[in-house]
């Protein structure tokens, strides 16, 4: 063997070894679907906030148990929570909120009460006296707080009732969190996970424990669940299934094609070796660069099998048709220009795919480029060394192919074909008008529909918020950040009153800004005289009056609040001081459209609505437009590559089939009513890459062997990408469908290249 072959083998082995060494002890597959999305926020504080909220939502599982009448729901909820607790899969299971003693809140806020905001009221003795009398006679009571003796107007009580402690629609009853709905009564159970929701071991243990706990319930009891752990494990299971399906089916089909056409075990093994070399290189390089596979790469990587086998197919097909005089190296030299052009156009297509800064797409592109490149190098460097004996000629097959080729080429020159083609082009162009575009991130991240329905129900029932959407409030310092958040809350208050929002979680609800505290203190001092008069008139004893009027007036700082145990669930809302200033998160609760939120906050300084899903969708739209432009550039570049060798006329004829294939794919999209997404555009880029391969081969070596190679390569590509059309991820489905149709049509009209070629 030549040194090149040995060297190439050594490179592959070294890559595999390095990747093996790099591989850590953790799982090789990243099941966090969000990880493959790009960072969308220019502001690092916003990305941090997204991460903090995502983690808070990710490290626990939430269940609603019941669905029937109260007693049964309670019994089921208790049984379920106990079973989860016993399983050992969860360090902490909560069937109830930690009982919050109202005395704790009163005790915490009492020292600051003179500085806590209170409702507007006229500061006259008469008005305050009437308010006092109404209050003491009212059936509403003072609620939590100091009681009517120490807080007769209920100022502290009003503040405490305004705290967003219970924005969930649950009631505490009998030690359980109960939810009464039209569909029955549910018990809310939350459980902390043992580790990361994206760790397969944690996923297995969690799902096992939940399934066991469910088996312990009466039939008919409903269990709704949500949590990153369920999404991640469902996504992993599906991706593994799809990868297996695509991988095995294309492998089986490739093996069948090999055996059917070449009738040689040796060729089969060599072909598989080329694909295997491609896979080893792709897996190793991807692991070396990224450390982990995204599920998208796994599924798409499986379909790469069908493309990587193209080069051995073309080489062997040439071998098959050559007869006894065939010399491996001489044949390769003849084929090399076509192979090189083909591989260059395909790699160019994948490179365009990697232009968008989506980690998921870039990994997919890297994987494909390395895999195809390695498979190509194996064909060029290794196959001629190992293929000494020519294959027995198959004159009957070749003769048949020759007839097909002649008929096909002739058809291209005849009027019916031209008319058909023109009609197809016109019809397709007409369909394009109906094509819509869409950039929804959910095309890329398509969580299981069942889980989504359960999550939606849980959100609707509990008022649980969507943690991917929040307001980021920033200020120079703590005081400015809190004051800006108060301005935001004032703008959002009408939405809460109208019921569009269930409520707001914000630090400034708990800690009024220094400005608001100073205002409250000033107002209290201004009304002190009138208040004293009113208290005396109603009959408050002098010592009680003194206690009410001379409340302590310590300023309340965020640091005081952060130390309080009751603040624990809300501490993540305070981002604290960062390089740019101080930041906090205001979390809108409930299913309010983002547009309303954005409009409400418009023009407020230091306030921004962060909506991860929307940002990613916007970014996908941006890159769809970019990819459209890149497609145009790629067509030009390929044209420039072809021009020196083939000239204008033939160059256009070679370029036409993939363009016609793309047009057909777009028309089918429009007819099927599916929108044009970033992924369809990327598929178009690859249609160009593959389609030009076929026409270049046909133009370079028009003959039955080339036709055979193209038919084999086309079938393998069609099969492996066609299978993607059965993926549950809409993006991959659209990608597969577009590519399949595009490749099919490109092959069918590849005779255009032949026709002009032979005319020359």
């Amino acid at each position: 063997m030549r040194p090149g072959a040995w060297l190439w083998g050594a490179v592959l082995a070294a890559l595999a070894l390095a990747a093996g060494l790099r591989l850590g002890p953790g799982p090789m597959v990243q099941t966090d679907l969000l990880a493959m999305l790009p960072e969308t926020e220019q502001n690092p504080l916003a990305e941090r906030a997204v991460a903090i909220l995502g983690q808070a939502a990710g490290d626990r599982a939430i269940f609603l148990v019941g669905g029937g009448e109260t007693a049964r729901a309670k019994a089921a909820g208790r049984t379920f929570a106990q079973a989860l607790g016993r399983s050992g899969a969860f360090p902490r299971v909560l069937g109830t909120l930690p009982p919050l003693d109202p005395g704790i809140l009163t005790g915490f806020y009492e020292p600051f009460r003179s500085r806590l905001p209170f409702p507007d009221r006229p500061a006259t003795a008469a008005a305050l006296g009437a308010a006092l009398e109404a209050r003491l006679a009212s059936p509403l009571g003072a609620g939590p707080g100091l009681g009517p003796g120490a807080d007769p107007l209920g100022d502290l009580a009003g503040f405490l009732q305004g705290l967003p402690l219970n924005t969930f629609r649950v009631e505490v009853e009998d030690g359980l969190l109960l939810l009464r709905t039209a569909g029955g009564v549910y018990v809310l159970v939350t459980a902390d996970l043992k580790g990361s929701a994206f760790d397969p071991a944690v996923q297995r243990e969690t799902l096992g424990a939940v399934a066991a706990a469910e088996r312990g319930l009466d039939p008919g009891v409903q269990v709704l669940r949500t949590g990153a752990v369920f999404y991640a494990s469902a996504a992993r299971a599906r991706a593994e299934w799809e990868t297996g399906l695509i991988g095995w089916v294309s492998l089986a089909a490739t093996v069948a094609l090999f055996l059917l056409v070449f009738r040689s075990l040796r060729h089969l093994l060599l072909g598989v070796a080329c694909v295997a070399a491609g896979l080893v290189a792709a897996v190793s390089v991807t692991l070396l660069v990224y450390g982990k596979f995204y599920l998208l790469t796994l599924v798409c990587g499986a379909s790469l099998l069908g493309v990587a086998v193209d080069y051995p197919f073309l080489y062997f097909a040439n071998h098959l048709g050559a007869g006894p005089g065939w010399a491996p190296r001489a044949a390769l030299r003849r084929l090399l220009p076509a192979l090189l052009l083909g591989v260059a156009t395909t790699l160019l297509g994948y490179a365009v795919l990697g232009v968008a800064p989506f980690p998921g797409l870039r990994q997919m592109a890297l994987f494909a480029m390395v895999g195809l490149g390695a498979s190509f190098l194996t064909v060029v460097l290794v196959l001629p060394e190992l293929l000494r004996q020519p294959l027995p000629a198959r004159p009957a097959l070749m003769a048949a192919l020759d007839r097909i080729l002649a008929a096909w080429g002739a058809a291209g020159r005849k009027a019916p074909f031209r008319v058909l083609l023109a009609a197809g082009v016109l019809l397709s162009a007409g369909c394009l008008a109906r094509l819509r575009v869409a950039d929804d991130v959910h095309g890329l991240i398509q969580p299981s529909a069942g889980l989504q329905a359960e999550e939606r129900t849980i959100r609707e029932l509990t008022g649980l918020s969507n943690s991917g959407r929040f307001f980021l409030v920033e200020g120079r310092d703590e005081g400015e950040a809190l004051a800006r958040e108060e301005a935001l809350r004032a703008r959002l208050a009408p939405l809460v009153r109208a019921g569009a929002l269930d409520g707001l979680q914000a630090v400034s609800c708990f800690v009024p800004s220094p400005a608001a505290q100073a205002r409250a203190l000033a107002r209290r001092r201004a009304e002190a005289g009138a208040y004293a008069e009113a208290l005396a008139a109603v009959g408050f004893r002098p010592e009680a009056q003194a206690r009410i009027l001379a409340g302590p007036d310590r300023p309340l700082a965020v640091a005081d609040w952060l130390r309080a145990p009751f603040a624990a669930p809300f501490r993540r809302l305070w981002l604290g001081a960062a390089a740019q200033g101080t930041g906090c998160i205001c979390l809108p609760m409930g299913p309010c459209p983002s547009g309303l939120l954005r409009a409400a906050a418009a023009g407020l300084p230091g306030v921004r609505l962060v909506d991860k899903a929307q940002s990613v969708s916007d970014l996908m739209g941006h890159y769809r437009r970019l990819a459209n432009a890149a497609l145009g550039v790629a067509v030009l570049l390929v044209g420039l590559l072809l021009l020196p060798r083939y000239g204008w006329r033939r160059g256009l004829a070679i370029l036409a089939p993939p363009l016609l294939g793309s047009l057909a794919a777009l028309a089918v999209l429009a007819l099927a009513g599916s929108p044009l997404t970033l992924f369809n555009t990327l598929a178009l880029v690859l249609i160009l890459g593959f389609g030009v391969d076929y026409t270049v081969f046909l133009a370079e070596a028009p003959g039955p062997a080339t036709l055979l190679g193209i038919l084999l390569a086309g079938s393998a590509t069609l099969l492996s990408y066609g299978l993607l059309a059965f993926s549950q991820t809409p993006a991959l489905r659209g990608f597969g469908l577009t590519l399949g149709i595009g490749v099919l049509v490109s092959v069918l009209v590849a005779n255009l290249a032949l026709e002009t070629g032979s005319r020359k």
């Binding site: 509403l140 609620g143 003796g149 009853e173």
Partner: protein, 198 residues
């Protein structure tokens, strides 16, 4: 009124001793109850008790109208939609059930106390009963968790409820006396409109 609020937290479950339930079973048959009330609030901080009076309408599933006439005119309507407060001068103030979740519980509490619906009080209180359906008395004593808020609640009545007395630890006391009980008198048009909270 703090104890009333607190009672609300515990409403809705638990098995009760049969006798107190049986004593007040007849109170729960009426769909609409009209009552007049007189309330006396005695606070340690006050040199004299604060008295108030007015009328009360309880309509099953629709809500409660608490109409205060003295010392100030003020009507509180509590129902599934939330709270509506109508001042003497006709000014209306509204709070939705989402803003004031306490209101839904208050409705239950009124229903519980005035119609003797004891379901759910068991988590916070032990309930003992005495007398007969014609003249009964119920005593609610707080369990450990409620001791800080209320010392004792007493309810007394016969055909309807006559008296509620709530004692708090600091010596504060709330007494409600009811009279002019009318069972199942149809709601007037004005009451209907108030309950609809339109």
């Amino acid at each position: 009124m703090k104890p009333l609020l607190f009672l609300s937290a515990g409403l809705a479950l638990a098995a009760q001793p049969v006798s107190p339930e049986a004593l007040t079973a007849h109170l729960r048959e009426a769909a609409v109850v009209h009552l007049a009330f007189r309330q006396t609030r005695t606070l340690a901080a006050l040199s004299r008790p604060v008295a108030s009076s007015g009328s009360l309408v309880l309509a099953r599933d629709l809500g409660v109208i608490w109409e205060l006439r003295r010392p100030v005119a003020m009507t509180y309507v509590m129902g599934p939609k939330g709270l509506l407060v109508v001042s003497g001068d006709g000014r209306r103030e509204r709070r939705s059930a989402r803003e004031a979740p306490v209101v839904a519980q208050l409705v239950q509490v009124f229903q519980a106390l005035v119609q003797g619906d004891l379901k759910g009080l068991g988590e916070f209180f032990t309930v003992t009963g005495a007398g007969s359906p014609a003249a009964w008395e119920l005593t609610l004593r707080p369990r450990a968790r409620a001791e800080a808020f209320v010392q004792r609640v007493q309810l007394a009545g016969g055909r309807g409820i006559d008296r509620i007395r709530i004692e708090e630890p600091g010596g504060d006391r709330l007494e409600l006396k009811f009279e002019n009980l009318r069972l199942d008198d149809p709601l007037t048009e004005a009451e209907r409109r108030l309950l609809a909270q339109d």
